[in-house]
């Protein structure tokens, strides 16, 4: 099953490589991994998307907790939660394509954030499935670049991952 794990980690150099190294050394899947400092600059927040059987995910959580720099973590899959991913897509748009791309972007509640004589950059935020669907919808056009942030997650309601 797919799991999305939120992690608070000491914002030390090399922290990210400890997580990445753990996953490669133990052969766990990483679908995506995002990281950035939080409002408290000594802490980084990571969101990790992985998949595996219950036993494997149990080990993943234990192994992550065992990393000395990990302060706290939470398997968001166990809670009601929100997932968001951001994407930027650069497209080659001929004169005839512009209207259709604009229309699709609106339908997906995206924004065109850069325009040149021959290209658009579209920004879109949502869960991963929505981003996939947008890329699918863009198939008739010439996609030059896709940049995705990887998933970020947060629990709904009172539940919070904090120290």
């Amino acid at each position: 099953m797919r799991h999305i794990i939120g992690i608070l980690m000491e914002n030390e150099s090399g922290a990210l490589s400890r997580v990445a190294g753990l996953f490669s050394a133990r052969g766990y899947n990483i679908e995506s991994l995002t990281v950035a400092p939080t409002d408290d600059p000594t802490l980084s927040r990571l969101t990790l998307v992985t998949s595996g059987s219950d036993e494997i995910v149990e080990q993943i959580v234990k192994q992550l907790n065992k990393l000395v720099d990990v302060v706290k973590l939470m398997d968001l899959t166990e809670y009601r939660h929100i997932e968001r991913e951001m994407m930027m897509v650069k497209l080659r748009v001929g004169r005839d394509d512009r209207d259709e791309v604009k229309r699709l972007t609106d339908i997906f509640r995206g924004r065109i954030i850069d325009v040149s004589a021959a290209t658009y950059v579209v920004e879109l935020t949502g869960d991963s499935a929505k981003l996939d669907a947008f890329i699918e919808a863009l198939r008739p056009f010439e996609v030059l670049e896709v940049v995705r942030s990887g998933v970020m997650g947060i629990a709904r309601g009172d539940v919070a991952l904090k120290i």
Binding site: S13, N65, K66, V68, D69, V71
Partner: protein, 586 residues
């Protein structure tokens, strides 16, 4: 034993000037002061460019002795031997680049066996890091997968705190090696020195006490079991819990088995002990595990050498598992009652509960269970040919056990000799059996024995080895001379990488690819060349006498080269893929 070498300058003692202002110290001086504050009396190391400031600071004091090894791998194994035989962490110091890479095998070894070590590595100056500078390697990167934690100290102001953290992390929770990488400029820069008395890390809080609800659940299973077995491991030794384990086991009267790493946690000669379990464990231990209805696992990690085929492991048993590391629990085998905590703490709590509980173990069931176990015991699975014209390796170990009254510290290398040592030297005390289990590092035995001997100057320390293993760190014979370490090396010389040969005999139809040790040195001459006493023993009748003579030489290292039966195999054995009830007996 001589610990110091060379002339020493006066000790650096005063660090204050008029007005009681603290003078700033260099990183190198801070390093030395930190070791002193930690109560470190001995470190193992090898100098080089990146650590020269540190060596200079070491030279100017006399509280921390430094043992000069002949290869950095030896420094780490020696530190392991020191740590495994005492209740203190081992400390090593090596230079950057090749010094650090030579240390890696030892660090990985300590990681696998959870040995508390603090390893200091020199690093190129901070402004050169990342430049492919002379003798630069990414030590933090290389060691990351085989340390409990590591640090790169970028600022001299952090040095004391990082060292405090390193000792704390290495020795608490599930112990392990911690690497501290120190760039050369940091050892020259100055800062005010103060060593933190205590340290708190918000990201690191190992559990100590077991959950009381879990303990009660365990007691329910323990007091209602009909065919129980206690299975204990290195955690009992690491957690100094053998006294509590002994009380716990005797209170219940249940059979107990130890892993290779757990030997000595409960007296081997006691009748409740059914011996080691696993691939080369006893028939009775493995059969009892297979037929048990309750397995009480304590500080053991269900290693594949123990479980055999996991599908066939303990088919009838419920499992209680006490371990300080949650990731050891239900990793290989799903358990019914996990208890996270320090073994000693949990055992004491369990003993209290059991004593207060009106229920008692079912005496009838236990009697029948012991009857069954004693039938398995009667198979005498460790029997060997005592009439042989060739020296049997088992005979040598048994004789060593008798000659040392079972009270020596015994280190081992890796191979058949290691298994025979485990089977035939019966450890009644913890911290006496020092070997490499998890990584299985040939070359471990001799340097580990140095660490043990330095920690226990008057004690008998034997290193059981094979002609292949000993050559992997043979250079340490020179260290042994320098510090006059009277280790007794017992070389079970079968002219083969015996363990490899045995597998080739059993599983590759006797195609002995590269397992014959050709062109062996004359070990007697070799020992003498290093300044020690050498003996060659070729007849079974001479074994006892030679051991006695060697043990009499209290202040000399004696290298005993026993020419043993080449074709001997380690029995019994669970072949790969088989279950615990499918042992090959002789």
């Amino acid at each position: 034993m001589r610990l110091s070498g060379g002339v020493r300058a006066p000790t650096l003692t005063t660090f204050t000037v008029a007005g009681d202002q603290t003078v700033e110290l260099t990183g190198a001086e801070i390093f030395v002061r930190c070791l002193q504050e930690e109560g470190v009396d001995l470190i193992f190391g090898y100098p080089g460019g990146a650590v020269l400031h540190i060596y200079d600071a070491l030279y100017k004091q006399d509280k921390v002795a430094h043992i000069l090894v002949r290869h950095e791998q030896g420094a780490i194994h020696a530190a392991e031997g020191y740590a495994k035989s005492t209740d203190k962490p081992g400390v090593a110091l090596v230079t950057s680049g090749p010094g650090a890479t030579n240390a890696i095998t030892g660090i990985a070894d300590a990681y696998m066996d959870s040995v508390p070590l603090v390893v200091f590595t020199g690093q190129v100056p901070t402004h050169l890091i990342g430049n492919d500078a002379f003798q630069e390697v990414d030590t933090v990167g290389i060691t990351r997968p085989c340390v409990k934690h590591n640090f790169l100290v970028k600022n001299v102001k952090e040095l004391a705190t990082v060292i405090k953290k390193a000792f704390y992390v290495a020795t608490s929770g599930r112990p392990g090696p911690v690497v501290v990488d120190i760039p050369k400029d940091v050892t020259a820069h100055k800062a005010e020195f103060s060593y933190p008395k205590t340290i708190r890390m918000r990201s690191y809080n190992p559990t100590i006490k077991g959950h009381s609800g879990q303990i009660r659940k365990a007691i329910d299973l323990i007091l209602t079991a009909r065919q129980p077995i206690i299975y204990t491991g290195g955690g009992v030794i690491l957690g100094r819990a053998s006294k509590s384990l002994t009380d716990f086991t005797r209170l219940l009267g249940y059979p107990i088995t130890n892993t290779l790493m757990g030997l000595g946690g409960y007296p081997a000669t006691d009748k409740l002990n059914v011996g080691m379990l696993g691939m080369h464990g006893t028939y009775e231990a493995n059969m009892a595990m297979h037929h048990a209805d309750l397995v009480i696992a304590i500080g053991a990690r269900f290693d594949d050498r123990v479980t055999g085929n996991i599908e066939k492991f303990c088919p009838y048993a419920r499992i209680v598992h006490v371990d300080v590391d949650p990731s050891s629990i239900s990793k290989n085998v799903k358990v019914d009652v996990p208890i996270v905590g320090q073994v000693d703490n949990v055992l004491k709590a369990m003993i209290k509960e059991i004593k207060a509980d009106p229920r008692k173990p079912d005496a009838e069931a236990l009697k029948a269970w012991w009857k069954q176990i004693n039938e398995w015991r009667a198979m005498d699975c460790l029997k060997y040919d005592r009439e042989s014209k060739l020296i049997k390796p088992q005979h040598v170990i048994e004789s060593l056990w008798k000659a040392t009254k079972g009270d020596a510290f015994v280190t081992s290398d890796v191979g058949q000799h290691q298994m025979w040592a485990a089977q035939f030297y019966r450890f009644d005390k913890p911290n006496r059996w020092i070997n490499s289990g998890g990584l299985g590092t040939m070359g471990f035995g001799l340097p580990a024995a140095m660490g043990v001997q330095l920690a226990h100057p008057g004690a008998t320390v034997a290193c059981i080895t094979g002609e292949a293993s000993i050559q992997m760190c043979i250079q340490e014979l020179s260290t042994c001379l320098q510090y006059q370490l009277p280790i007794k090396v017992v070389n079970l010389n079968n002219r083969y990488m015996g363990m490899v040969r045995q597998w080739q005999e059993f599983f590759y139809q006797g195609r002995y690819a590269m397992s014959y040790m050709d062109a062996l040195p004359d070990f007697v001459m070799l020992a003498e060349a290093y300044g020690h006493v050498g003996m060659r023993i070729e007849n079974p009748g001479d074994v006892e006498g030679a051991l006695k003579e060697a043990l009499k030489l209290k202040d000399r290292l004696v290298f005993m080269d026993f020419i043993t039966d080449q074709s001997e195999n380690v029995y019994p054995m669970i072949p790969a893929g088989a279950g615990q009830n499918e042992m090959i007996l002789v």
